[in-house]
Symmetry: C2
Subunit: 772 residues, 2 copies
Amino acid sequence: MGEQQEREPGGRHQATPEPTVTLSPSAELPAMGEDELDLLRQTGRSWAEALRDRRNVLTTLPLDPGLGRYRSPPTPTRFGRFAPVEMFRVAEPGEPDELVATGPSGEAESLPGRMLARIRRTILGPPLTSAAVVHERMRKLVALPVLSSDLLSSVAYGPEAMLTVLALAGSSALVLSLPIGAVLVVLMIVVGISYRQTIPAYPHGAGSYIVAGDNLGRRVGLAAAAGLIIDYILTVSVSVAAGVHAVTSALPGLMPWTVPFGLLAIAVLLAGNLRGVRTSGNIFAAPTYLFIVAIAVLVTVGLVRAASRGFTPIPPEPVAATRSTGLLLVLLAFSSGATSMTGIEAVSNAVPAFRAPEWRNGRTTLTWMISLLVVMFVGLMLLIHFDGVTPRADQTLLSQLAHRTFPTGPWYVLIQAATALILLFAANTAFNDLPRLLFFMARDGYVPRRFLHMGDRLAFNNGLMALAVAAAVILVAFRGHTESLIPLFAVGVFLAFTLSQAGMVVHWLRKRGPHWRKRLTLNAAGTLLSGVVLLTAAITKFTEGAWVVVIAVPLLILVALRVRRHYDMVRVQLTPHPSRLNVARPVNPPSVAETSRRATGPEKAEHRPDSGEEEGPQTGEEPETEESPQEIWHLVVVPVERLNLAALRALAYAVSIGQPVLAVHISPSEDEAARFCQQWDAWGDHVRLELIVSPYRAIVAPLACYLEALHALRPDVTLTVILPEIVVRRRWHQVLHSNVPRHLRRALRQLPGIVVTTVPIHIPHAGVQRTK
Amino acid sequence: MGEQQEREPGGRHQATPEPTVTLSPSAELPAMGEDELDLLRQTGRSWAEALRDRRNVLTTLPLDPGLGRYRSPPTPTRFGRFAPVEMFRVAEPGEPDELVATGPSGEAESLPGRMLARIRRTILGPPLTSAAVVHERMRKLVALPVLSSDLLSSVAYGPEAMLTVLALAGSSALVLSLPIGAVLVVLMIVVGISYRQTIPAYPHGAGSYIVAGDNLGRRVGLAAAAGLIIDYILTVSVSVAAGVHAVTSALPGLMPWTVPFGLLAIAVLLAGNLRGVRTSGNIFAAPTYLFIVAIAVLVTVGLVRAASRGFTPIPPEPVAATRSTGLLLVLLAFSSGATSMTGIEAVSNAVPAFRAPEWRNGRTTLTWMISLLVVMFVGLMLLIHFDGVTPRADQTLLSQLAHRTFPTGPWYVLIQAATALILLFAANTAFNDLPRLLFFMARDGYVPRRFLHMGDRLAFNNGLMALAVAAAVILVAFRGHTESLIPLFAVGVFLAFTLSQAGMVVHWLRKRGPHWRKRLTLNAAGTLLSGVVLLTAAITKFTEGAWVVVIAVPLLILVALRVRRHYDMVRVQLTPHPSRLNVARPVNPPSVAETSRRATGPEKAEHRPDSGEEEGPQTGEEPETEESPQEIWHLVVVPVERLNLAALRALAYAVSIGQPVLAVHISPSEDEAARFCQQWDAWGDHVRLELIVSPYRAIVAPLACYLEALHALRPDVTLTVILPEIVVRRRWHQVLHSNVPRHLRRALRQLPGIVVTTVPIHIPHAGVQRTK
C-alpha cells in the first residue's frame, strides 16, 4: 500500500483516478503497478527454465484441489477450532473457476466458542459480504444525526464557555457576547463554506489529513491527523463522562458507579458501530433529532416571550469584575466560544460512506448541519441576551434558560434529558470518523495496516476497538473526571481546521479552475479565522493542558513516520528485484571436500559480500534474496531427543522429502550420549547422526549455535529444521511437556537461511486411553 | 520415565537396581528397556527396505556436520539470541566421535541480555558440568545446618504452643508439661530411630513419598507427598513471615515493608539454593550453629542457676483457668507440642545429596540432629519448669527465659537475634527438600517432567522456582500475616510421618531380614504415636484451618493421578507399536481420478476405521501412526496473499523440495480474485493455483477448513503448509504486520496430517534502508 503514492508524490488523485468506492475491503490487497507486473514476468521467465523438466512432478497432485468438483464435497472432520466452511463452486459457465467460502466461517467448534459466536451474532447481526459495501451506505437523513451529534451538542457548552470568560470582566462585559457571537457565526459560515468547497474537490475523502497532506506535504497532513486523533479520543472520553455526570447529578446514589457506567456507554457505542453504519444511524438518530426539536422549541417560545416584552433585554444579574476588559479577554472569549464548532469536520472524512453521488450528498448534509448550527447558536445567543442570564456554577446556562422559559410542565425535563443524551452520544461522531481517518492513514502506511481490514459487518473493527480502548483508558485513568481535558479539544480541532483550509488555498492556487479567486478568498478567510482561534487557544490554554497537545502532535507525527519508514523498508525488501535474479550460483551443490575448503579458505568471505557491520548479517546473506527454485540446496536437520514415535515420525517425514538428512542429538553427559548411540544403532543408523554433548545441560543454545555454525559453513544451503511438536487436547496439559521446541523455534526465527517445520503429534485426552 | 515401574509394579527397587547416583541430569533421558530396543529394531528393518535405493541421496550431505573437524571451526554470524558456543572435538583416539559444547552457552547477544547474564553469573556462579554432580554433594557438617534449621528452630515455638494450651486450664495444669514433654521426647526418639531404619532400607531416597508409595501403594505415597508439599510451601511463607516479624517488632518503622522484606528473604533463599547445595550450605550454616550455641548457653546457665537454688522450681504466676483439665486438653497440648518435630523428615529425602556412602552419612547426620533436638527440647522444658515462666501474649517464652537468665549483657540480644535468624532460614529446609521430592515424583510421572531438569548449577531450578513463587503468593495473599496457617503444618507433616512409618511396617513384614521383629516394633510404635498426633491435630484444629489440608491432600492426589494418566497416554502414543508397522498401504499415490472415487465412494470409510465418536478423529487417523518413510505421500500447500518476494520465496522453497505443490489464494471479493489471477498469469502460472473467495473477509477459518477438507479427501497424504513469516528486528514492529500466519499456525496445529513449515523473511531495521 502506498506504492502508487510513492511514485507520484503530491499528485496522487489527479494521476491515478481511484474507483468511486474507496472504502473497500480490497484496499488490503491493492493492485500491482505495471512495473511490478514486469518484475513478476522476469522472475517467472527464470522459473520457467528451472522448472522445465520438473513441471510434471509439481503439478501431478495426489488429490483434486477443487475438492471433487460437481460432486458432494467431503465433510471435514470437525475437529479444528472452526466450524466447517461449505465450499461451493460457481457453476455458471463463464464464471471464474474458484471456490467460495460460505456461512459464518468464524464460528467456533467448542461449546463456549459457539455460545460466544451466538452472542456476537446477536449483538452485531449476521455477517455482510463484501458486495454489500455499497448498500451499507448512509442516506442523508441517517447521516445527519450520525455525523452531527458532536457539532450540534457543542451549542450546549460553547456559549456558556464564552460567557464565563466575559463574566470575569463583570456583567457589563456580557454585552460583548453579541459582537463576538456574530464573529463566531461568520467563522462558522466561512469554515462551513470552506468545507463545502473541499468536498467536491476531494470526493473520495475530504478530511483535513488528506487535504493538508495533498497540498502542504505529508508531515503537515500528519499534523492535522494527529490533532484529529487526539480530538476524537478526547471527545469520546469527555462526552461519555459528561453524559454520565448528567445522569449521576440527577441520581447521586449512582455516583460510585461513574466509571463502570462510562465504560458501559463506551461499550454500547462500540457495539452499535461494530454493527455497521446503518444500524448505528438507527440507534443514534433519535437523541439528535430530539435535541434539535428541544432547542427549537426553547428558542421559539423564548423569543416569542421576548417579543411580547418588545425585545427589551432583562438586565443580567450584577457580577463582580475580576479582570479588566481587554483584547486578551475578548480573544479568550472568542476561542472559548469557538468550541461550539467542534465536530464540523465530521462530514468531510465520511464522504465515502454516503450513498452515491457521495460528494453531493455529503455536501448537502454539511449545509444542513451548518444551517442548524447557526440557527441554534444565534437563537440561543439572542435568548441569553434577552433573558439576561449569567453563567452560574450550580446550573448550566441551558438549564437556566429552560427554567425561565418553561417554569412549569415537562418541557424542562425534556430539554435536560435531550441535552444529556446528545452529550453522551456526541462520542458517536468520533466512532464514525476516527476509523475512517485511520483507514486513510493506513492506506498511506502511516499506521498499522490492520486498520484497513473491514470486519464481517463491513465496519473497521480495529479502528473502533482502538478508539474504545484508548477512550476507556483515559476515562479510567481520570476516574471519570475528564473536565480538565476540555481545553485540549480546541487546539486539536482548530489545528486540523487551519491546516485543511490552508491546504485548500494551495489547492486553488495550483489547480485554478472556475471561480478560483472567489474560492481561494473564502478558504483564506477560513484559514485566517481558524488560525486566530488556534493560536489563541494554544497560548491562553497552554498551562491548562494545551501543552500536552503541543507535545503529543509531534510525537504522533514521529511515530507515523517511523511506521511508514518500516513499511517502506518492508516493501523494498519484498519487491522482487531484477538485479538479484542474475546472481551466479553453482548448479550443483559442491561436495563436502570443496565445502571444507571454502569454509576455511579465504573465499569464505565471498559468501557475505555486503554483510556490513550496520546492516546485520541476515540482510546481506544471500538466502534472503532467493527467488528461483534452482538456487536452493537443502539439508534437513532433525533434532532428536529420544528415539520415540515423535522422533521417528519427524525422521520419516524428513526422509520422505527426498533431500539429505542430518539428525542431531544433544546429550547432558557422555554416558547418556553412549546410551543414545546404542539406541540409534538398534534402530539401524539409517540417517547421519551428529552428537553434541552439552555438559551444562542447556539444549536450545547449543542447538541454535550449531545450526548457525552449519549455516556459516555453507550460507547457500537452506537448513530445514524439523521439530516434532506434541499437541495436547487440554490446554493445561501443555505445562507437562517440554517447551524446548517453542524456545528453539523462537531462537531460530532470527537466524538467516533456516526454515522451521513443525510436525504435530496429537495426544488424545487420557479419558480415551487405549491401554492401561 | 516410569516405564520400568509400570512393568514391575510394587517391586521397583528389588527388580531394577538403580545406579548409586539417582539425582542425575540423565534422569531426563532414561534408558530404554530391551523390549523398546526390540521395537526400534523392528522399525529399523522396515526402514531399511524402504530406503534401500535412497540411502545415497540421504547421506550425501552438502556440508560437513562435524563443522570441518580438526580445523578451526567456522565462526557463526553472532546474530541470534545466543552467544556462539565453541564446539570442539574430543581428539583422543578411542574417544567417542562427538562435539562438545563449551562456554557459558546461555549468554545472550544483546547488551541488556549480556548484562542480565553477567548479573546471573555473579549471583549464581559459573555453570557446573554434569560430571560435577558427585562433587556438588554435602559433607555431614554442611548437611547438618542445611537440613536441620527447620527441625531445630521448632523448639523456639513447640514448647510455647504446648504451654499455651495447658495454661487454658490454669497455672496448676502447667505441671503437666513435664509428662507430656517426656512423651514427646519418646516420640522424637521413636520417630528418629524409625527414620534411621528407613535410610539404609531406601538408600536412594527415603522420603515418605517413596517409602509409603513403595509399600502401601501409589495413592498412599501421593498422600504423603501432598502432605509434605503443603508443609514445605507453608514452612517457607510462615517462617519467612515470622522472621520478618521478629525484625519489624524490634524496628516498628519497618512495619509497612513487611511484604517486600518477606519477598526479599524468599529471593535470597532462592538465589542461595540456585547456587547449589554446597553454597547454600555455606550461607545457611552460620545461623544454625549460632542458634545451637545460643540455646546451649541459655540452658546451661539457666540450669546452673537452678542448681544453685537446689532445683526448687519457682512457682509460675497464677493464670485463671478457662477450661478444665481433661483428656482432650492433654491431647491438644500434645499435638501442639509435636510441632517441635516438624522438619525431622528433611534428611530422608536428601539422602542422595550426601557424599558417598550416602546412606551412612545421611543416617549419622540424622542421629546428630535428633540428639541435638532432644537435648535442646529437654533442656528448655526443664528450664521453663524451674523458672516457672508462663506463656504471655507480649513476649515469647524464649525471650522470657533469656531475660531471666541474662538480665544484663549482650546475651539476650544474641539469643533473640539467633532465634529470628534461624526462623527466617528454617525455610531453607523446604528449599532443600521440596525440589528433591518433586524430582522423585516427576521421575514417576506425577508432576511435570521439567522438575527433573538440573540447571546449570546442578540445582533443580524449576522446583526451587515453583516453591519460591507459591510461598511468595501465599505471603502476599495474607499480607505477611501467616500465623493462621501454623495449625495446617502439623497435619501435613504428621500425615507424612504416619504413612512413612506404616510403610516401613509393611516393608519389614514383606522383607523380614535380620532383627526384623525389633525393627517392625519400633516402626509400629512410631506409626501409632504419629497417628495419634495426626488425628488429634486434624480433629482439634479442623475448624481452625486443618480442613484446608483435608481438602487439599485429595485434590493434589487427584491432580497427580491426572498428570500420570496423561504421561501414560503420551508414552503409549509415542511408543513404536509393531502392529502399526504392518498396515497395508499403496506403494504409489493413487491418481486424482481414483482419489475422487475413493473420496465419495463407500471405501472412504476404510481410511478411518477406528474414528470413534469418543476418540476424536486425530487419533484414529492413520497419519499419526506413520513411522516408515515410504508410507508418506506429500502435497505442499502454499497460501499466497500477494505475489511479493515473501510469497515467491515460499513458492521457491516449496518447489525446490521436489514434491507436488498447490498454491491457495483467499480473496475478499471476485474483483480482487480476478486481479490476483492476472498477477499469477504474469508470473507464469508455474504452480497449480486454487482460488477461494471469502466474501466475509475471513482468512484463517476458510483456509483451515479448506486444508481440513483436503485432508479428509485423502487422509494418507501429508499436507505441508508453507507459511512465509516476516521477522522484524524491533519487537514493536511486529504489530505492524498481519498476525494471520500466527493464527493459522495455531488453527492448523490441531488438525491431523498437516505439517507447518515457516519460511522466515528478515526485515532489517529501517535505519539501514537501502533505497529511499
